[in-house]
Amino acid sequence: MKIAVCVSHVPDTAAKISVGSNAKTIDKNGVTYVVNPYDEFAIEEALKSKEKIGGETVAISLGGDANKESLRKALAMGIDNAVLLKDESERDSLSTAKALAEEIKSQGAELVFFGKQSVDYDNSIVGQLVAEILGYNSVSVAVAFEISGTNIKAEREIEGGKEVVETSLPAVITAQKGLNEPRYPSLKGMMAAKKKEIAEKQPAAIQNFVEVVSMKKPASKQAGKIIGSDASAVPELIRLLKEEAKVI
């Protein structure tokens, strides 16, 4: 069976983000890009699934040449093949999902992993969109995953607890932190990944339904009052919270 994992290439969470001169996207100058943190859990789960049920793994990424860096990381961790859907345009979630779904379908993958969200546009919906486009079952925000035969038992994080979800293949699973402990690429893996060819394909142009009107900085918060430097400041703090902020 083929197992796919979709990987996005995003600014490091430690990066400072500023608005670009077009006021619609960020200024990419000086920003370090990394594999999306949640996708590392997705890659690890794809590898673990292959170890359990066999088959072949493929990593798919949509974007420019820079995304190859994240695909190489997936290969270095042990993913068998990588495909870059080469497209530098800004896509909305649905348009991204349609391009990925088309490739997953042409690969014939029946088990697909995503990170639960990309830490750039933060929609947390692309995995579910892909599942619905393909008619696959889906479990989002998974913190546990087991497969036996075609049956899947997973746990998804909800407010104040977890839901145990049962479903079956074909399926899309989106990974939350805590699902597993991603392995570090071995030196051998890194060397092999360098030599592997990353297939390049042209995804179909698909119309966006969501248009960015403008990008802006959030209103900056004014630094507030320093009330004191020891426990004697506490009564005043509590009074302010009760009487000025009225939050307790």
Binding site: T13, I17, S18, Y38, S93, L94, V119, Y121, D122, N123, S124, I125, Q128, L129, E132, I133, N137, S138, V139, E155, R156, E157, E159, G160, G161, K162, E163, V164, V165, E166, T167, K177, G178, N208, F209, V210, E211, V212, V213, S214, M215, K216, P218, K221, A223, G224, K225, I227, G228, S229, D230, A231, A233, V234, P235, L237, I238, L241, A245, I248
Partner: protein
């Protein structure tokens, strides 16, 4: 121009979620600016308070009912909500951006060929178009978006839209009994975290960072949270160190929260942490380092020793 907004009302254990009331109220406020009609749809078994949704602006309430839909099912809920959205030809659908709403909304969007904008923090109506604001890059920047397709799906971040009080109206609930729901994805069990409030839903959060100096000192965070009826949160550093569970993590690879009050104890205020909590209404920081970036965004700060200040806070609140 669109004229029908459908609001999905989420229930857990038969009780309506506050975040859904907020979405409903936001829809009815939008309808006041033009000629939209507002309907509510829900899925579940026995659900309290559906008739009273009229008090938050629902002109009609429809309940898809089946005992096996009491718990969430991606497939079962998609089927019912989709059938109804198609039946009434809804133009716009609102969901609360909860773990359930985030899961369900995209499935519906695909099937009605709708553009979808998730995690909306503000809505505006300009030149006959809905302009939605959403944080991106974990809130380091914001974008204003408009959906250009005929059908539109939005999910609204909890705690930012004010549900206000009911105006006391009620309406007869239209109950549709669901025959053989599609349970190809099925919740078989819910494991509750023992009696703890979740950071994503709390009005007050008390978070601890590396300045707590070890997991054995987090009882201070917990005691202060108990005294305030708050949830406990944590920074990435202490989650990565294994002191606290990931479900408590606030920040870019944890949860994004907007409580009324966020108390940061021994948290320096790394950019990825601030991204997840900067939309809190009030922020209190206690840290021994006066140059910690957290003080740049705190409304109130005490520069000092946590182990002296937190016990004093607990006893002052209990007074």
């Amino acid at each position: 121009m669109a004229n029908k907004i459908l609001v999905f009302i989420e229930q857990r254990n038969g009780k309506i979620k506050k975040a859904s009331l907020e979405a409903l109220k936001a829809a009815s406020e939008l309808s006041a600016k033009n000629s939209f009609s507002v309907e509510a749809v829900t899925v579940g078994n026995e659900i309290e308070g559906l008739a009273e949704l009229a008090g938050y602006g629902a002109q009609k309430v429809t309940h898809f009912k089946n005992a096996s839909l009491e718990n969430y099912s991606t497939s079962g809920y998609t089927e019912s909500v989709l059938n109804y959205a198609k039946e009434i030809d809804a133009d716009i659908i609102f969901f609360a951006n909860t773990t359930l709403g985030k899961d369900l909304a995209p499935h519906i969007a695909v099937k009605i060929d709708a553009g979808i904008a998730a995690d909306i923090t503000a809505l505006d109506f300009q030149n006959n178009e809905i302009i939605a604001t959403r944080p991106v890059y974990a809130g380091k920047t914001l974008i204003d978006v408009k959906i250009t397709s005929a059908k539109k799906v939005f999910t609204l971040r909890p705690n930012l839209f004010n549900a206000g009080a009911s105006n006391g109206d009620s309406v007869e609930v239209n109950i549709v009994n669901v025959e053989n729901p599609n349970l190809s994805v099925k919740v078989t069990e819910i494991k509750k975290s023992e009696g703890k409030l979740d950071v994503a839903e709390a009005d007050i959060i008390v978070s601890g960072g590396r300045g707590m100096k070890g997991p054995e000192h987090f009882h201070l965070v917990e005691e202060l949270a108990d005294a305030l009826g708050a949830a406990t949160g944590a920074s990435r550093a202490v989650v990565d160190a294994g002191w606290r569970s990931h479900s408590e993590q606030v920040g870019q690879t944890g949860k994004t929260v907007s409580p009324n009050l966020y108390i940061a104890l021994g948290i320096s205020g790394a950019i990825q942490h601030v991204a997840g909590m900067r939309s809190s209404k009030y922020i209190v920081a206690v840290n021994k380092d006066k140059d910690a970036p957290i003080f740049q965004i705190a409304d109130y700060g005490i520069v000092g020793d946590i182990f002296e200040i937190v016990p004093a806070m607990i006893s002052e609140i209990k007074k």
